[in-house]
Symmetry: C2
Subunit: 538 residues, 2 copies
Amino acid sequence: MQVLVIGGMAAGTKAAAKIRREGGKDCHVTLIEKGNVITSIGCGLPYYIGGVFDDYNSLFINSNEEFAQSTEVTLRCGVEAVGLDRANKRLRVKELETGKEESLSYDKLVIATGASPIRPQIEGIDLPGVYTLRTPEDGAVIRNAVAKGIKRAVILGGGAVGLEMAENLKRQGVRPVIIDRAPQILPGFDRDFAEYVENRLAEKGIPCFTGENLISIEGNGRVEIIRTESRKIKADALILAAGVRPNTDFLKDSGLIFSKNGALVVDERMCTNDADIFAAGDCVVLKNRITGRETWEPLGSVAAVTGRICALAVLGEKVSYPGVLGTALIKTEDVNVGKTGLTLAETEDMDIVEATITTEDKVRFYPGVDVFVIRLVADRSSHRLLGVQVAGRGAVDNILDIGVTAICNQATLESLQSMDLGYAPSFSTAVHPLIQAVNLLLNKLQGKFVGIDGEGFHKLPEDTLCLDVMKTATLRQYRSMPVKTIHGPIPGVDFKQPIVLLCEKGKQGYLAQRKLREYGYENTVVLEGGVEFYNIEE
Amino acid sequence: MQVLVIGGMAAGTKAAAKIRREGGKDCHVTLIEKGNVITSIGCGLPYYIGGVFDDYNSLFINSNEEFAQSTEVTLRCGVEAVGLDRANKRLRVKELETGKEESLSYDKLVIATGASPIRPQIEGIDLPGVYTLRTPEDGAVIRNAVAKGIKRAVILGGGAVGLEMAENLKRQGVRPVIIDRAPQILPGFDRDFAEYVENRLAEKGIPCFTGENLISIEGNGRVEIIRTESRKIKADALILAAGVRPNTDFLKDSGLIFSKNGALVVDERMCTNDADIFAAGDCVVLKNRITGRETWEPLGSVAAVTGRICALAVLGEKVSYPGVLGTALIKTEDVNVGKTGLTLAETEDMDIVEATITTEDKVRFYPGVDVFVIRLVADRSSHRLLGVQVAGRGAVDNILDIGVTAICNQATLESLQSMDLGYAPSFSTAVHPLIQAVNLLLNKLQGKFVGIDGEGFHKLPEDTLCLDVMKTATLRQYRSMPVKTIHGPIPGVDFKQPIVLLCEKGKQGYLAQRKLREYGYENTVVLEGGVEFYNIEE
């Protein structure tokens, strides 16, 4: 069997190595790669630029030679796929150095060509000082430019790459500014989560200007001014981090089926509409594991998993990839964020329940304690967990991965509430933060708790009584009423009076609500997540 | 309704507060506590002693006053339960200061009396310098003693408290030695995991002497020598951390049913054999969630969860606590360890499969990268995950909690292998370490991989050929054969020759095995977890 693999990043190298390893003596695998190097770790680039590590070679899992010798895959770098003849099962390729074209035959073809950064076609885009970030060479170029004196950089795009670049440029003494044409950073997160992160970044000196289009890049021979509709920003550099698009142009006339964004459509075996052509990684569109909807997740981790599944399918094994939850995990300058499954915004047409909690991320005496803000979304009738969002300085990956595992295994809130998750003071709280969120949502489902979010707070009727129920009076504009002082009806306040209970994290509000209900108040709500999450100040 | 709760630690305060909060106006809750303080955080004591934090008040979640005022629970400290008259539903209590006894009536009784440290009855046990560690006062006493000049301490017991004490004493400049009468530290872990931790502790200057009984404590007016069968150890202090036993003596003649160790037996509603008496926390015995066997888990986290369940049951809600997996999570001086579900040792009578993997805990360029050693145990026929053990300097809680969530939700290896867990270079690897372990186990199940453990290695037939397949020759006594050099049969080696493949972590062994099989070798095994886990040196 002749297997041809196109693409030498995560999906392609994974698939090629596994097919060769398990395919037996008569399985010959050739990997072609347009660039000169393979197995590079794209997500390492911001950290290489930031000087978190200095060895350029660390950006590669293997040298070309090591890979070829270990795997016995035939490796051809500097070779680009330019056309596909499915009828004759041949791939047309071009040797980039010589321009020579040839045609390679295959029994099975694996397409793992990845994706490339989007480059907006605007004035000044070709000025020196405009950078993309995809290959190790890109990383080296930016690192050099930083060393030579970039002082101010604008980053286009507030997704994972943009935020990681901001942190790492700041680490090198560069002042970063993020601009994003979307109304928020962190695409795919609920707006209030994104705003929470924006606020925390702003406190650390990383402004995010959202809802602003990049209009032009100006400068005398190199980048000097970045202009949006609303402002012009002085900068020495512009980093393009506004997303990527699949590298599938060479397949345009192949008859393979694409999704709207140009990514290949594959079945649960990572097989295209041609039974001998498989695809994996950033160039394919996947199914959302919950909704079954098409979803595109150009992530190294997904590429590695789909590369493996693809290999098993090529080898004829029975596999069925159930799709992705759309998990994202991002470290920023001051706060980490994660999401998996469905957000509130994505469940507008579903009957769901949700709860948001702010709670300590470890036992309060432990150094470095911060908060987690956790939002859970669950199906109202089955109580199945559907989504988790989390933000905080600590181990958001822990919360997130419990969520992923729970959703992938159809966990209900009831099954989650009594799990004995790991506990030690340096890691967690005695009642694990995720379980606290589950308990809150169960309380809400049972009518024991009524909450609102930040948007709801700003829409409350004007006659709503706002009570600050924190242990210490904090919101000077509102009446203070610590929980421990509530021992009966509030003098002069009618039992039908709409009341909103405000506290730091949400917990005191919950306790106050229980008490006020017992004393006859019928119309109380708690600001979920508290003023800490929604940044409501005196 | 009159509810009486005995015990002011995690389970008791949790239950009392919740019952009062949700029980309505006519629900009166009284909490009695033998000591003077409630809501103390026992697991904080080692860190208070270690100076990780200095505020004694941080050892408490709430002051007595704050708790009573917020919850409206009637609090009576310094009051000990001394006898139970179930027929008349009365509890006999004694006010410790005055010695006055009285009898309190209840409609529902919650027993949450916790557990106390075991104090071996040996020579010298009452010498000054022998310490137990349970209450905040105990913590203050030890902290003071350290400040006054303890230089060498013996810790009796290599469980969580013992290991945390070793780390924290060392932080304060005290030289700790751990002794344990069991053949290993870390009760409940597989022996090789415990030995891995022992080795790492030894490298950090914390010796563990296992399989040694404490014979006597000697000294002229205070602790000077700790004697075991095998050695005498100079020490200024002995810390008793050899386990606890349930505080249930006062119930001896009550007719309530106990397990062998003296813990109360409860049903899935945390109800004893008396329908009006519930119990939670360290004084109850629970069911193992997988096997249904009785299991005792005296942990703050389990106490908090069972306290909550207990409260719901007292309130008449439908609850069903499914039991515990026996999760443990421990931070030590150099390495964190965790376990959940079943170990190899616990599955000797079951038809299971298992795999052990050593792998990087984050992307290799990220500062602070270390390894995880992960062992998975699964049911052979259903492929359901049954147990996880993990050790490493990093976020073992992440691996552990994914395991807990998976086991609690009946996950199979197949359902785990394609989960899109969170990935960012600072947190994890592109193929998540747990998924790598799952993949290895699936490979093993399909016969694609054959491995042995450290014990198996030492029992190999004498004629076994040991090959060092590491990238760089490391084990000088064995023939070196890096994977990339294997391109055909090994000259002079028969295809039936038993071969063991040794590498650092296990991965190169796996790759070598695949190749050697392709070239005709039928009888190869790989040391799982590698020489790094089993500390096999040249």
